[in-house]
Point group: C2
């Protein structure tokens, strides 16, 4: 297996969507352009959802219109239904990310329909997208547990992955939507899903809700996964755990990868500078650790000697 | 390999030592007794260091005099030098934990002497302790990197472990004193140290300074390590990284272990209750995540259905 990791940046989507402040469109565009310049091959830019449901991302079309399209970067939009897909195509996204939960209760609460109805809608979206050159990724939300139903059987997750493959999607994401996964479970599910998909078409999406985000990345990497979602500064969160940390933190993940000798193609110094600017945009501290502590290689002057 | 993990609680030592407030002796005793009741087989209670250097732990003797000695719990004290060892023996500790850094610069800054001089002192301590029934653990500080010198060669770490073994210590701890370790490095060092020591005599001490604490635990566990230091609430810290998180968090570690099916002998609910009481003792929020977010199995009522 190649010693690399592909990190997809999701801060402007999964991070900003739960912020109570509206980050100005011009700031979003500036951040996304800076992220692309830092080397990301994939950025989840925004969501084409109801502006009433997610006011923080109501400017998705303006953001897509304003960003510089850096060659080598795939600009992704999350899309919940056929209407969102049409808006995304009009905005000239490179990739659409579809989402349905494996848990029926979660999908009903999140999308207002059964997972079955969501996936039927995805079939119509695939027809709309066909021939457009836009690629499609599909996410299995609550793949590692549902905050309402609890454990989700691996067989149900695999069945949903197979439904997605039958639709002809280009990639699949397994999402630990509310941070319930543990490393052993992650390794087991990745080992079952990877043979059919291949490492280039599987993304893992972890939250650090219970502090296990990077341990879960490690377990997934060891099981052969290579693609991971992460949010600058560790933005994001969980509506059921106020004050809990959010998505795994991009710069902490990239620091770990580089310390382990894994190539990411990313400029960590640039990411740290962007992460340190986030509190200005969102109005609060963010959970990322490396931006606070510095990289392990950032040495300190020796203090004056103590008497014995 | 057996599917278990031994967690040594260090909050009242490594956590309290850097707190600006003095936690009252009676509160320390109450907390240590409650930790023992929650099932810990090992608790690092305090430090017999200069009260001028660490005023927060100046009551070490009173704390040892006040705690109930629960059968099955080993009560440990950190000791930097022969004078501290005498005080520890008088206080009837079960185990002494000696510390010297592999980095000369760090040991000079921390202990006011070379590592060589520290280890010579350990020889005198071993003579004092012999026949007392008190066991001795010795810690290699900065084993995964020094904040002043940077990388420390694995051969130097191994040489220090061999010095400790030649002194006849009962156990060895490899400490990532300022949170510089990464999982690959951890696996490599554990694999080299474990054959001579065995899993019952090796402890790993990680800090979560850069968010990798539990990923490092996972890597060490996979490499065969079974004993880990952790601090309730993730107390502790790093003088070079203000605001950085501290030791790995006990209740987050125990939650991970239980979710992975590893036995710890610990009552997680009791730990969560104690962790939630820490802000009262130290006067600030603590970094632990599970105390905030709840256990993965703590389910939520389904919210009202949304319209599609």
């Amino acid at each position: 297996m190649s010693e690399h990791m592909v990190v997809q940046e999701v801060a402007t989507r999964d991070g900003f969507q739960i912020e109570p402040v509206f980050v100005e469109t011009a700031e979003k565009i500036r951040l996304i352009d800076a992220l692309a310049a830092a080397g990301f091959s994939r950025i989840e830019v925004s969501s084409f959802v109801s502006p009433k449901a997610v006011p923080a991302l109501s400017d998705a079309a303006e953001v897509f219109a304003g960003i510089a399209r850096r060659p080598g970067t795939i600009y992704v939009a999350l899309v919940p239904n056929p209407k969102g897909a049409e808006r995304a195509l009009q905005a000239r996204v490179d990739e659409i990310n579809l989402v349905a939960s494996v848990s029926e209760t979660h999908n009903r609460a999140n999308m207002g329909m059964t997972p079955e109805a969501s996936i039927e809608g995805f079939g119509r979206i695939m027809e709309t997208v066909r021939g457009s050159g836009v690629s499609v990724n599909a996410t299995v939300a609550t793949a590692f547990g549902c905050p309402f139903e609890g454990d989700q059987p691996a067989d149900k997750v695999l069945a949903q992955v197979e439904r997605y493959r039958a639709l002809g999607v280009d990639g699949v994401t397994l999402a630990d939507t509310t941070g319930m996964a543990n490393p052993r479970q992650v390794a087991g599910l990745v080992e079952r899903v990877l043979p059919a998909l291949g490492a280039d078409r599987l993304t893992l999406h972890f939250h650090n809700t219970r502090g296990l985000g990077l341990a879960n990345v490690l377990a997934a990497y060891q099981a052969g996964a290579r693609r991971f979602d992460a949010a600058l500064g560790g933005l994001g969160g969980c509506p059921f755990a106020p004050g809990a940390t959010g998505n795994i933190c991009t710069e902490d993940l990239v620091s770990m990868a580089h310390e382990m000798g894994l190539a990411t193609g990313l400029d960590l110094d640039a990411l740290l500078a962007l992460a340190r600017d986030l509190p200005r945009l969102v109005g609060h501290d963010v959970p990322g650790q490396v931006a606070r502590a510095g990289r392990p290689s950032d040495l300190h002057p020796a203090p004056p000697l103590k008497a014995a």
